[in-house]
Each structure stands twice: as structure tokens, then as C-alpha cells.
Symmetry: C2
Subunit: 385 residues, 2 copies
Amino acid sequence: MKILILNEAQQSSSHEHIERRCAATPATVLKLVRKGIAVYLESNAGLLSHYTDSDFEEAGANVVATSNDIAGEVDVLACVNSPSEQVVSTLKANTLVIGHIDPFFQQPLVSKLAASNLTTLSVEMIPRSSRAQKMDALSSQASLAGYVMVMKAANYLPSILPMMMTPSGTIKPAKVFVIGAGVAGLQAIATAKRLGANVLAYDTRPVVAEQVESLGGKFLKVDIGETGQTKDGYAKELTDDQKRVLADAQKDAITTSDIVITTAQLFGRKPPVLINKETLSLMKPGSVVVDMAALSGGNVEGSEPGKISVINQVTVIGSGNWSEEVSRAATDMYANNVFNLLDEFTKNDPLRFDVSFDDEILASSVITHDGKITNETLINAYKGA
Amino acid sequence: MKILILNEAQQSSSHEHIERRCAATPATVLKLVRKGIAVYLESNAGLLSHYTDSDFEEAGANVVATSNDIAGEVDVLACVNSPSEQVVSTLKANTLVIGHIDPFFQQPLVSKLAASNLTTLSVEMIPRSSRAQKMDALSSQASLAGYVMVMKAANYLPSILPMMMTPSGTIKPAKVFVIGAGVAGLQAIATAKRLGANVLAYDTRPVVAEQVESLGGKFLKVDIGETGQTKDGYAKELTDDQKRVLADAQKDAITTSDIVITTAQLFGRKPPVLINKETLSLMKPGSVVVDMAALSGGNVEGSEPGKISVINQVTVIGSGNWSEEVSRAATDMYANNVFNLLDEFTKNDPLRFDVSFDDEILASSVITHDGKITNETLINAYKGA
């Protein structure tokens, strides 16, 4: 069994976004090699997450000058993002492709992966079950994103987060309001609490109130009637009436906060707008808003992915390529997810990835196989589009 | 009694450094006005620390278009930095000038202040006594600087500071080494500990080991024989032999750390070089070094004030105009220091600042009065230069 790791900074060099992560680390290479798997690594694949080719070689990887040298011979292509069409065209049939495929928004690529007879495992489609946790890349990455977003907000705030009591006077702790207490939101709450801020949080799923409180945050209680979560663990979309009641209740929390972090995502859909320009104009001068949903459409009116804008004296940070801020940690986590996937499904035969649609993790995350798109949700979404 | 507050962003607009702080806040203006003091504020003086002219007017300040309108009539000129020669030339005799005068390096300005018959209070010369604490601007600002430096370092580190234990693997806490445990160093230690890092610290004054440990840091023990501190609370300069023993002992701590923060300052002198390029080259790729002494000469070879350089894959942050990162908090603290100074020395007559050289705080911090330079240390330093 042969596995190829791409240098994705190179792959992405034509775009604005330069991928700094890598799908393997020297530690995961060592574990793969010990299982008898041959690992090929495109030169400098780890450079931007601070792992050198010689670190990988010491762990047993074969470093190749370019992916073209070996792509046609491998059984697994492990990516962070989706491979380029050029790379896809060089792979042999039945190769397993692993990555953040972004399948709801990449129909042409998914069709090509299917047509090329490749088996595609989209890590975003891994279910949120306890068995799948160790492979759940969305969670591992979102957790780091939650940390990064608070650190970025703190760096733009013209004050400090902790209370400071000195003979020269007392600075009160900053007020931080986190909207959406999923994995990223919970890590944002934990990070803001570490830094000594007063933290308030809201989520449409009342079930998470306890988690917020166990991290030391307060939970904003709003009665908007029936809400709930999908089987994927995402919040259900609200009705227009519910949205209005909620917006009113949140306005007060937003306008009295120093930092607001919005993390409201809907599975495979555009996220809701939570803060409009009118609410922004009511915030204190110098306040900071982080829109973690900026890449997929935005929770904050006027936010732009990867950009920092000042709107009515409020700094609005549109989350973009956040993982570049913690590329080594993000690589460490993601490489573990990839290793755990390979490890889990080579249990029967250490040198064959066992694509079984009876397995709930693979049934959900394998989106192309044997020439077809295999995921029902995706097929329905494509029909609707 | 009339006091004038400058718009220092405007004053400094010809330099690279734009001063975002202000010597007053609406809260301190209110307290001054209640004492019967008339406060004049140059328009937009608080803008960059997020206080508007109308905030100040509500507190009772008179906003003037430019300092020229009133400078010749005031009794006190309160600055963050030193006033420009142009402003100095408009003041009447016996006006009290308060600010960070940087007197050891500003002999021509100090001479002009003396020749103009002004009373100059240099906040850097306020002694470190318990009575002076509430006026001690160097301490109040250094404390914020310690926080800022850790936050900046954290933002450049390609990993996170806290330990993160997840089903996708464990990220170990970052190792932070703080050299110099004065006010800034102690706040850096506290901030890094808040964020969950492993913190090691060193100071030539063994007396601070207990303070380091009470913040949760470890103290690096090195036997370099006799050391001590000056009466101003600064570390004494070491002999060449002591420096060599120390450098060897620190090398190991530096090269195994993810973040190193150097805060070694000597009073009125160039700071020592603690990290040379050879040591930098032994650090892990992606590590971060913050040189808090960069402005006065630097603890790190190759650091530049206000610049971020990558030297041998190590990010070196040269501290420059750090207060711009927390302009509101820095303004709040400094404005309190200025108010406390005025409050302390108008106790006998609420409308007259009592310049008494029998007072230990004024004897040390008032550097010009009655046409003369009045500080002995300064006079000797000028003679030596």
C-alpha cells in the first residue's frame, strides 16, 4: 500500500489562499511506515508547518520532487483540501482520495472524482459520533479556530482582556459575547475565560448551556419556542419570527460587549446574518467583532473573508484562512485524523483500506466510489441546485 | 489653575511613531474639574484611545482647536511624551510640564526646558517607592507592555499556548522563557500562565524568584556570584565573567523554548545583549523571540524596534510603539498617574502645584526648575557624555 502526501502550498500558489497545513507529520509517517505502508511525500510539503523534508525522511518517508513522479502508482492520496483537477487526472482507478472536499459547493470536482473511478472520502462528511471523534477533522480544526479567533480579537482590542488591579487604577475585565457554542464557540469561550474576560454565550440549542457554564461562561437565555439540532449536530434553521425575537434579545448583549464572536453555521447552507450594520453602529468605538462564518457567507453584515474592516469605529474580522496562524498545531491535529482514518479501516488487512458502506462513518463520508456519487444527501443537494 | 492636554497624535504626525495615548480621560477630567482646576483639551486628543471630544466636554473639559490658542496661559502642560520645541516656546515661565521626557537621551530639550524657566516633571524619574506607586507611569505602562508582548508572541507562534487534549490527539503546552522579571516580565509571566503555557523565568536579582513562583512560573537558578539591584529597583550590570556563565546557562532554556521574551533594561544605559545570532540559530523553526528592550538598544542581536524579522526561521519581534496595541488601557492607566501626581502635590493648596525639593518624589522627578537642571544624576550623566 502506497500513500502520497501533497505539498499543498505549491498546489495553491495560484490562489490568494496559501495552504500552510500538511496531511502528515513525521510522527504519523513513522506510524504508517510501521504498519508496512510506503509513504511518499512531495518535497517541502511540511515546510510551512515547520517540518522539514529531512524530518520526514528520518521518519521513513520517501521524498519526491513532484507529485507527478508517483501519483499514478499510489493507493491513497491524502490532502488537506481537495486535489487539483490536474492531480486527479494522474491518479489510477480506485485510488482513495482523502481531504476537505467541500462537496456541497464543488459539484464539478466531485463529478470528476466519480467519473475517474476514484474513492473520495470527504472529511467534512464524517459524522459526529463518539467512534468517529478521533477522525473528525472538522472538530479538530474548529477547536483551533476558536482559539485563534479570540487571540486575533484580543490583538485588535484597544484594551486588555483580564482585569488588572494596580496602584495606578483598575481595568475591568473585557466583555466577550460568543454566538454559537459548537466546537469552535466552546474553544473561544474557554480561551476568553483563560484570558480573564467576562464571557456570555448563546446557542439555539439549549442543550449546550451546561457546557458553556462548565467553562465558566454565562448562557444568554432567550425564549424563542421550539428549536433543535440536526442529526449532524448542527443547529436547525430558525423561522423568521424566531430570528426577530432572537435578534432583539441579542442586540443588548452585542452593544454592551467589547468583543463579539459569531460562529453560526448551517450544514451545507448559507449561514444566518446575526449582526447587521445598524447593530454594529450601536457598539462601543474600538469594539471588535469576529465573523467565523465569513468564508461561507457571513454572520455579520459587511464582513469579508480574510479581511479586517473598520465599520462605524468597530473592527470587523472576517475569518478566512485562520489555520495559517497555527499551522503546526493544525497540521498535527489533521495528520492524526488522517492516520486514525487509515488505521481504523485497515484493521482487517493492514495493507488494504476497507471501503464498506455498512460502516456508518464510511457510508456518510465516502462520497464517490466505483464510478458513482454515493452520498444521498449530496445527490439530493445537487438535484436541488 | 489651568491645565492643557495635547493631541499627541497630531504632535507626532511628522514621525514614524504615532502616539495613540492621551494624558487624560473623561474620568480624570471630571476629578480635576471637581477640584476647581480648568481643563483645556486640544481637539481629538482622545480619538486614538477611543474617547471623543464630546466625552471630554461632558466631563467638563474645554476643547480648543489647537494648543496655540491657550498654551501661553496654562499652569500645567500634561503630555504623554515630551512636548515639541514649538509648544515649549509658547509656554509662560513656571509652567509645570509633565511627561515621558526621556531625559538621559534628550539633553538639548531638557536644556531648553530649563532655559525657558519651566518646571519639568519627568515621569521616568519617579522613584519606585510605595508612596509613589500610584504615580509611577513606567510601572503602569510596563505592566501593559508585558501583556501585549505575550499576546503578540502567541499570534506569531505556529501553535497554541495551552495544552489541548482532544480525541484527535494532544498538543503540549508551549514553553515560554521570560528573561528579566521586573514589572513587564512579571506581567508577561502572568499572561503566559493564564494562557496555559509552561513558564520559566530568570532575573539577576534572586529576590524576585518568589514572585515568579507565586505566579506559577519556574525560576531558573544560575550561580553567578554576587548580583543585586540599584536603589531604583533596576538590576546592576554584570561583569564579563558573570555574563559568560549566565549566557551558557540560559542557552539551554532558550533553545528548548517556543517563546522567549527578553526584558532586561539598565537605568539610563544601553541594555545587555542576551541572545546572539548563534543562539537564535539553535532555536526550533517557528519559535518566537520578543525583544522588549529593542527601542533602547536591544537584548537580541538583529532585532529592530517596531519590526518583525525572521532570523534562521525564528520570528524576532522588536518591541516598538507597543502601547498603540492597547491605547485605551494605556491611556486609562497613564491618565490616572497624571491625576494622582496633581492630586498629591496640590494637597496644601488645591490650586497650586507645590514644587518642594524636600519631597523625595519631586526631588527625583523634577528635572528642571527656576531656570536650572535640578537632578544630580542627570547633571552627572550629561557631564559624562
